[in-house]
Amino acid sequence: MPLNWWTRQRHYFLYMLREFTALPMALWLIWLLYEISGLRSGAHGYTPPRSGLFVAFSVVVLLFSLYHSYTFLKLAGVIMRIKVLDRQIPSRVIVFTMFGAWAVASAVIAFVLIWFAR
């Protein structure tokens, strides 16, 4: 198996990209932890995130993270087998529900993050 196997085919490359999303997301969460711990230095020591560099980094992470969400939720629909009244729920419905849950969760989190900022 040549080690560059994943460059030879689009599907393989997309798979590697999907797996790679873990790294940027991890970095971003580490940043989040770091930011939270920054609260310990009190009101004066805390610097809210404003830098353009950070925004650029977040944009990149957002792209990866959206790709992760898209692939993971879609694939989750494939693997779940839910039966209601002995009838198999088609995976299309499951995927749809997953994306619905995603929208709701995102709305709730966004609400909390914004509402409590007043």
Binding site: M16, T21, M25, L33, L39, P48, S51, V55, W102
Partner: protein
């Protein structure tokens, strides 16, 4: 596959996969909105966001539910990341990534991050129900 070989469910892998899958769902559902709001909209000033001010942020982080939420998010996420990155290494042709030491390093790393998270959450803003 020799005759004496007795197959056995690999409980360790089962556990890792369980954590990975949960982490995957949790990050899929929650990550984008955090990055969008806290990482882009907030810093650009498009909307007010809690972490743009010490007071509002401290207020929110003091909430025990928020602490619990963050622990769950970060805890599962890092198991997810550890798992993916370990497999990614294997995909790059490093068979050692499948070995026991690699498991200790990667999932151990996730555990370390979780411990650090707990420590930070417990030491940062005292729990309050305001």
């Amino acid at each position: 596959m020799n005759a004496e070989h007795r197959p056995r469910t690999a409980i360790d892998h089962l556990f890792f996969w369980f954590m990975f899958a949960n982490g995957g769902v949790i990050t899929a559902l929650l990550m984008p909105v955090h990055v969008l709001v806290q990482g882009i909209l907030g810093p650009l000033g498009v909307v007010p966001v809690v972490d743009q001010h010490y007071d509002t942020y401290a207020n929110v982080i003091g909430n025990p539910l928020v602490k619990l939420y963050l622990l769950v998010l970060i805890g599962f996420a890092f198991f997810h990341f550890a798992h993916r990155l370990r497999y990614l290494l294997a995909d790059f042709g490093v068979p050692a990534a499948k070995s026991l030491p690699a498991q200790v390093i990667f999932y151990g790393g996730a555990v370390v991050v979780i411990l650090v998270t707990i420590w930070i959450l417990l030491t940062t803003i005292p729990i309050s129900f305001g």
